[in-house]
């Protein structure tokens, strides 16, 4: 359904912005391949700076590519202009980590959720859009009273549900979720992950779950892709990768996770600096 090959992205290096002229470009993605089958859930793992968020944005055509090709539902979208992309945008959606800044602070939740139905012509009237928005709230486990509230009146977990609701509004074939549970309490995280599971089963959507947390990925994803320094270092079925990680970086990531078991040797004996 989605096939990306040889993706390269270079962005201006804001750390070295000269007073005049352009900042030098740095390579964020150095030739990444990623394939997502319909209904598949893929976990994209890596540490900060590994390029996983840039990859998500590149797949959505939100950052310019310097090389590579993206085919979505049989169409080459690498060079499509925004007007041609627009109908496809309904089919591929992204949920961002920072739910606070992802929502317009001046729009009530109901208005924000009704908006895609109107702008994509899926509702004939704003009343119908409102009704559809109420339905969305229900699907993500929020009662209809939330429609009248504003983003700042919601908790982080509730805002993230709204972000998910907006992403699934137009029945997308693919949802990319970028670190949507980091920063949430474990109990709230469990609820959001459970919601994603339910929605995936209901809609058959494919899901790319970006996370730095391998345990979260293991709980939800059938495939896992490990990134480091703008490259994919390991990819495969979750069961296989977690049972016998092949790349030293994957092994280091796994060992560095503190499982809730007392192990006085963990701090000293675990060497995560192998890579």
């Amino acid at each position: 359904m989605l096939e990306a090959s040889g993706l390269r992205v270079a962005l201006p290096d804001r750390g070295h912005q000269p007073v005049f002229g352009r900042a030098p470009m740095i390579e964020i993605l150095e030739g990444v391949d990623l394939a997502v089958a319909p209904g598949q859930t893929i976990g994209l793992v890596g540490e900060s700076g590994s390029g996983k968020s840039t990859l998500a944005r590149a797949l959505m055509r939100l950052v310019p590519l310097s090389a590579g090709r993206i085919v979505f539902e049989g169409r080459d979208i690498t060079a499509l202009d925004e007007a041609a992309l627009r109908p496809l945008r309904a089919r591929m959606q992204i949920v961002f980590q920072d739910s606070q800044s992802a929502l317009n602070p001046r729009l009530a939740i109901g208005t924000a959720l009704a908006e895609p139905f109107l702008s994509y012509g899926r509702a004939k009237s704003s009343r119908e859009a409102r009704r559809l928005a109420d339905g969305l709230l229900e699907r993500v486990g929020l009662d209809a009273g939330f429609a009248g509230r504003y983003p700042h009146q919601l908790s982080g977990g509730q805002r993230q549900r709204v972000g998910i609701a907006r992403a699934i509004a137009l029945d997308p074939a693919l949802v990319i979720a970028d670190e949507i549970v980091s920063g949430l309490d474990v109990s709230v995280q469990a609820q959001v992950l459970d919601l994603l599971r339910t929605l995936r089963a209901e809609t058959g959507m494919a899901l790319v779950l970006i996370s730095h947390d391998l345990s979260v990925v293991r709980a939800l994803c059938e495939r896992v892709v490990i990134m480091q320094h703008g490259r994919v270092v390991e990819a495969g079925e979750s069961a296989a990768v977690f049972a016998s990680p092949q790349h030293p970086y994957t092994r280091a990531l796994l060992r560095a996770i503190p499982l809730p078991e007392v192990d006085p040797g963990w701090i000293d004996n675990v060497d995560v600096e192998e890579t």
Binding site: V186, A190, L259, P260, I267
Partner: protein, 317 residues
């Protein structure tokens, strides 16, 4: 004056020792007063931390764990009122100390490591100035001595090329490097207590491991005690000697990590463990804290507040 703590505020019994602990918090009650309303945030918190030990303070956001740290440091928000209780550091009640003496403790005997190293450091000053400031203020070192000591400190947190780092500004360093600098400042004056509030939450797992090792190594070498505030029970299991679990300003569970992690624990602690996914147990369902347990805890909290209110009225009458 105040009602007896309810049964659930379980300060661990049987761990009392003859020597006073390094840090002892007793029946700490703090409430936020805003717009004429009083909202309790700490409901009779009790903690003990022995010298040279690491105590984990765990809970969900809003549970009051950061408030405990702030109360020890004396940096509660203006709207907060300490209504009862005592915090004793080396046997001295911090609330009874003159402000001057209390301030002198901070940065010297009691140091902090906060979650966001980027904001813990002042963006407008070079690393060198920020490390030497502490040394000149608390250890009374001269400029040259302080610089020399700062170089040693940066080397002790495994910063390569400390001379270069001294000249840099915080934004020129990565999050992990900034946290190393913050740790070097925290350990600069050989503190007896460090309050570490989510010190590794913003870091990648491999960097987290390095930082945890660093804190533990320095802590062992210097004999400093650490109050380790975190939401991550995994981190607690790996670095702490004991743990207290806080919910709605009440300590619900407390004990040595060996006991808590081998299964003798409060249902709330159990629920927090069940909610976190584990890569080694993919088949286990992720269970959020159940509505029944939430309701039960809510009832206990309400009951606690009701008893306290009754006691206040009785005291007033």
């Amino acid at each position: 004056m105040t009602p007896p703590p309810p049964s659930a505020s379980a300060a661990p019994s049987g761990v009392e020792s003859a020597i006073p602990p390094l840090l002892e918090i007793e029946n700490l009650r703090v409430a936020i007063h805003a717009r004429g309303a009083r909202t309790p945030v700490l409901r009779g918190v009790g903690l003990r931390l022995e010298a040279g030990r690491i105590l984990g303070l765990v809970g969900e956001s809003g549970g009051g764990k950061t408030m405990v740290g702030k109360a020890i440091l004396g940096v509660l928000p203006d709207s907060a009122r300490i209504e009862a209780g005592a915090i004793r550091f080396e046997g001295r009640d911090l609330f009874c100390l003159p402000p001057r003496e209390r301030r002198a403790l901070l940065g010297g005997s009691i140091a902090t490591i906060l979650q966001n190293p980027m904001t813990a450091l002042n963006p407008a000053y070079r690393i060198g100035d920020q490390v030497t400031d502490v040394l000149r203020l608390h250890a009374g070192l001269g400029r040259a001595e302080a610089r020399q000591r700062a170089l040693e400190l940066l080397a002790s947190v495994h910063i390569r090329a400390p001379e270069r780092v001294l000249r840099l500004y915080p934004h020129e360093l990565s999050g992990g490097m900034c946290q190393r600098v913050v740790i070097s400042i925290a350990f600069a004056c050989a503190p007896r207590l460090i309050i570490a509030d989510e010190p590794t939450t913003a870091l990648d797992v491999t960097v987290q491991h390095q930082i945890l090792r660093l804190i533990r190594d320095l802590q062992r070498k210097t004999g400093t005690a650490v109050l380790f505030i975190t939401h991550d029970l995994g981190v607690v299991a790996k670095v702490c000697d004991a743990v207290s679990v806080i919910h709605a300003g009440r300590i619900l569970d407390a004990g040595p990590v060996g006991r808590i992690f081998s299964g003798d624990r409060h249902p709330y602690t159990e629920a927090l463990l069940d909610a976190a996914p584990r890569y080694d147990r993919p088949e286990s369902a992720l269970r959020p804290v159940s509505p029944e347990l939430r309701a039960q805890l809510e009832r206990e909290t309400t009951e606690f507040d009701r008893l306290e209110q009754a006691a206040r009225e009785a005291a007033r009458a």
